[in-house]
Amino acid sequence: MNLEFIESGQVLTIGLKGELDHHSADESRVMIDEKISKGKFNKIVIDFKNLDFIDSSGIGFVIGRYKAIRKRNGVIEIINANKKVRKILDMSGIGKIIEIK
């Protein structure tokens, strides 16, 4: 999976490209959390536009980033979730704590 970071003021947008599973989540979370800890972000936007696959490890990954930004009193948002991605997001009930657009 490839990550694309776009910083705009206090908003960090993370574009995920490829497949989000246990393997890629483990690789990516270190990079993202380092970015969060170094910056002064109060909002993280996760862009799923170019994501081809996600399983429950991806849900754990999103919740992990939610916790990381919450510690800094920030919020998280998911954008561009396609039908496949939406199915597992809906099943997880993650929409109750994270806004999905």
Binding site: H22, D55, I59
Partner: protein, 141 residues
């Protein structure tokens, strides 16, 4: 169609999760599934293989055997590891239950398998291993 199958083994490295689900999905394409059906199979396989990598073989690398059989319009996928086994299968199946929250596990693996496939059977024995049998009917087009 004649009884058709594929069987392969992989070491329990997380990098192989992607190959395992893609290989099963490619084999199942014989039945001309929809994109949704293929995605369901890929996701369920990914969950079972990830479980074997993380929980079956906790800190060691072992072998995972994956077999996929086509019986008429039904796909039967078996994912087997020879690892530590699951102490309490019913507990493990409970949504959001995980023994590894520190690894950001969502505890949804079995719930996803059960929701995305028609049937999921889990056979596990301590110190012997775990076998997950999943079946899904692919609708005839």
């Amino acid at each position: 169609m004649q009884n058709n199958y594929v069987i392969f083994k992989i070491p329990s490295l997380s990098i192989n999760e992607s190959f395992a689900r893609s290989a099963v999905a490619a084999f199942c394409s014989i039945l001309n599934p929809t994109i949704g059906e293929i995605n369901d199979i890929k996701t369920a396989v990914s969950e079972a293989v990830t479980n074997a990598v993380i929980h079956g073989y906790e800190n060691i690398v072992g072998e995972i055997e994956i077999s996929c059989r086509i019986k008429g319009q039904v796909v039967e996928i078996i994912i087997e590891d020879y690892g530590c086994g699951i102490m309490d299968v019913e507990k493990a199946k409970e949504p959001l239950y995980t023994t590894k929250p520190e690894l950001e596990r969502s505890g949804m693996g079995f719930a996803v398998m059960e929701s995305y496939m028609d049937e999921v059977v889990v056979l596990s024995e301590k110190e012997v291993g775990t076998k997950v049998i999943m079946r899904k009917k692919i609708n005839e087009k």
